[in-house]
């Protein structure tokens, strides 16, 4: 019996990013080795300034690396130019920015449809996909609004819908629930669970433990380095845990 091994969805080798603004160099990512299997859901956590955004930006080709390698589905990507990266993103990667980056002079509906149209999907297909995603995220009523007319949390959900428009093989998301209240976070959690079940690979930066709790694996960054990398396992079969242990009912 022969085994065909599929390449990792994403891989970095000794990845380094040093920002050079003005005088002092700022090392933001310092030698990250990360391998993400196809279909895996990885949460990236760590304190502010630990290099999370820098890392996912490099994984999506939105920021150049200082040294090291980036591989996307078995293809070397860190050596690609801007237009080749743009093509790769369009075909394979959905990206949710920490600060949304919606197109201001287009409606919500057009923002979400655009990625599908750019890869040549039929307008009908693009519209159906848009309706589905906006519906899942509780935004059907906002389709005709301009991004500037939306709250931060609404813009964030539009950004997620846009990133998922093409059913990308890899979803990269930087704090996709950072501006959401509990109820809207639930919608996003449900949709991410759905995306994960469909086998898409997810790498997601988050401070929100509910989001991280959905992941297969959590990578923790500190000062630009991975300090922990492991599976998230149910605590239920371990002693003394569960809601009753966290919230003590008094009386």
């Amino acid at each position: 019996m022969s085994m065909v091994s599929t390449p990792p969805a994403l891989r970095t080798v000794n990845l380094v990013k040093i920002y050079q603004t003005g005088g002092l160099p700022v090392p933001a990512v310092r030698g990250v080795d990360l391998t993400v299997r196809p279909g895996e859901f990885v949460a990236v956590m760590g304190p502010s300034g630990s290099g999370k955004s820098t890392l996912v930006h490099m994984l999506g080709g939105l920021d150049t690396r200082t040294s090291g390698e980036i591989w996307v589905e078995g293809t070397r990507a860190d050596t690609l130019g801007e237009s080749a990266w743009a093509l790769l993103r369009r075909q394979k990667i959905g990206f949710v920015f920490q600060f949304f980056n919606l197109v201001d002079n287009m409606t919500v509906a057009d923002n979400v449809e655009l990625p599908a149209l750019l890869v040549g999907a039929s307008p009908k297909h693009a519209r159906e996909r848009r309706d589905y995603l906006l519906g899942e995220l509780g935004l059907s009523g906002k389709a005709d609004a301009a991004p500037a007319q939306l709250s931060g949390g609404e813009q964030q959900r539009v950004a997620l819908a846009r990133a998922l428009a093409n059913q990308p093989q890899v979803l990269l998301a930087d704090e996709p629930t950072g501006n959401l209240d509990s109820r809207n976070t639930k919608d996003v959690l449900r949709l991410l669970g759905e995306v994960h079940r469909q086998g898409q690979t997810i790498v997601l930066v988050t401070h929100d433990a509910r989001v991280a709790g959905l992941a297969d694996r959590v990578v923790t960054l500190l000062d630009g380095q991975i300090v922990d990398d492991g599976a998230v396992l149910s605590a239920r079969r371990r002693p003394k845990s569960g809601a009753g242990d966290v919230v003590e009912l008094r009386g």
């Binding site: 709790g213 149910s234 009912l249 009386g251």
Partner: protein
Amino acid sequence: MRLQLLALLAKEPAHGYELKQALEQIFGDAYPSPNIGQIYVTLGRLEKDGLVRSVDVEQSNRPNKKVYFCTAEGREALLEWVDEPTEGPRVRDEFFMKLVLAPMTGIADRMALINRQRRHYLGIMRDLVELAQRTDQDNRPAQLLIEGAMLHLQADLDWLERCQEDLA
């Protein structure tokens, strides 16, 4: 559990098993399922303290059952409970004690302790997310109890992150 049982009895008289069912129904699976033996022990103590009384109710072809009801004194105790401010969150200090003290003895490394604790919290969070999905959306008390547990856990994780930044 004393005052929870007292509150239920102030609403209507009930026997032990009905109280167990009521607690489970109101708070859902997030509530540590009350043990019937514990309920009877607590009822016995409440009765001894004069906060509840019981009557034997005859049942056809079954042993009598004891129905409990809240006394005037019981109501008084309940009012006091409701009126007094509830303790704020206690610092869950056992882990913190480990974190500060264990490395001093050389038997543990702070980074490893924090990483293990984070995975543990995330595992609990995973269970809570599943529990919330399994629990009836319309059972507001149960959903809010789970949400409260999640918010507490989030605070614990944020604190852990601060510990990692400053101590490890």
